[in-house]
Amino acid sequence: MKRLLATAAIAALLAGGSTVQAEELVLGEIHPITGPASFYGLVMSQTLKMNAEQANAAGGIDIGGKKYQISIDTGDDQAQATKGVAAFRKLLADNVHFVIGPLASAVAPAIKPVIDARPDVLQIIDGSIADGVVNGKNSFRVQADADTYNDAAIDYLKSKGIKSSAILTDRGHQGFRMSEQRMMKSLKNAGVNIAAQEYFQMGDTDFSAQITKLAASQSEALILRGYPGEGALITKQAQQLGYKGQIVWEMGAPPSTVMKNIPATQMDGVVNCIPRMMADYIRLNVPNAIKVADAFHARYGKDAGENAAFSNDAFWILTTAMQKAGGVEPGKVAAVLKDLKVTDVPNLIIQYKPQENGLLFKNGQAHPPSACQIWHGENWASLPGDHLDLTTKN
């Protein structure tokens, strides 16, 4: 027995001495992996895992002369505040200090107090558009804020000379609810009369009461603010109930998700005004977008979803900041993030508008550009004259 133990000990020593073990760096993520918003969250999670696999396959990420193998610790928030807080606390219990997410605007405000109280944790939000969730100290956001969504829709109404609009909002969507008053003000300033305003809730399947009222208002446009599952059902029911105006969405809406809820022909002419997303960058031939889309397809056998671009960018922004900080101490990494320039980060898909001095973040918020697309056939298509300026390394 003693001989066996001695042999094992020597073998272990030899094994330890013969290779340089890379350290493990755990990045946490909070996304809806199950539930009605999983079509967003699953792809975001898969993008992060794919990026980690690619980095690990290349020998790991070199931070301060040390190679780190990245692993992703996933928290499933099901796009619900209570589950998000529980998932976040579980990540903290796992001793995770870097978190990417959440997606859901209901979740980000719920975990904010915990983030604020934990300077040893650094968060990059890749989905939520809720107000006040970014502090620029230890929480940053690569997703746009709600105003970017609203302004894109208002600009579209202005460009088409539309003078009245009805609005239907997901009442559980913190980002849209919080920005409501600002949107009303912007609409009035743009000379657009708000003909009617109604609400629904994620998971609802019947919107007939609201649509009947909105249709009676005879507004020239109907702005839908929420998620695409409900957006598609509302669009279908609006046509059924005889609504004749222009339907304008404000939601990340992968065509595959849209067509699961509405026949493609019923979507013709619907306009979606949002920050540019994955499919947009692929359509506009951004090299990093095409590279990630190809890798994603090879890895998972399906197309990368709309929000993959945000998660991809959050991963590379975070790891680049760690490399520049020369360590994995959250405070130092956060300090680097504040001074990070748009052109500093490799592999970015989103063509962020540079802030003053070319910085990526201002008060913790990055600025992805927005645009409107129109549904044509079985996909979103660019509106005539749409163009994009490359601002990042591609």
């Binding site: 539930g35 009605p36 079509f39 009442r171 809730q201 009461a209 009947t212 059902l233 059924q240 026949p263």
Partner: protein, 289 residues
Amino acid sequence: MIELLPQQLVNGLALGSSYALIALGLTLVFGVLQIPNFPHGELYMLGASFTYVLVGYGVNFWLAVPIASLGVVLVGILLDQVGYRRIDRGGNLSLMIAALAMSTVLQQVATLLWGAEPHTTRTPFTGILRTPYFSIGIYQIVIFAAALLCWLFVWLVLHRSRLGLAIRAMAQNRTAALLMGIELTWVRIATFAIGALIGGIAGSLLGAAFPIYPTMGLNPVLKAFVILVIGGVGNLWGAIVGGFLLGILEILVAGYISSQLQDIGTFAILVVVLIIRPNGLFGRAEVLR
């Protein structure tokens, strides 16, 4: 606003028919066996998912509906035999915990089989009936008719067959029914089979109108329990009337008060009915001697 009333009432009937269809199967199981069958929502989900799979394999939708519903019947019977029968004497708390556990298990199995992402079976009818007063989708009329046909089917089984007589006897007084030689095992299998069949039909039909995902049954089953209280537990007509009533009420609250109060309307009526008629609109008070 009053000119919108015909349309809002039709909207309410359309919504109510989907509620009634789901509540019908639940009220039968609850009324006869006193089991709070929370997994009825998952049976509804399985009906939708089975139909989705069958249609995906090229089976005609109208053929897929009965096949999927029969599949759900098997799951329903299995649910009873594995989950409830052995703890039947364990008390209401045990049954409730078992029901919640099976609900979760079925959701997880569905997630493993079909993933968490929502999907939809293509609606077989996309036509719209337009009149000067209201518009309604043809498929909504089909669902409305299905709710009434399912009610008629269950009523005929309960009131025009020996099996129905046994089920009603068991619902009225289990001990007396057993003393009369009624076989409990077959009554509960039949009750679960009929309840699951209706749940399966509801899922098959409504899955062509709404997104299908593993947790899609949670909200409808909660509404179905509200309908049970409104209509009276175990009362078929109560399930139908309660479903329509709830649908119309929700629509009127959203249409005439505020769409932010739609769900509050649901639970307000629940409280009102509990105060005024604790046994439901069609339920009968029991006298204990």
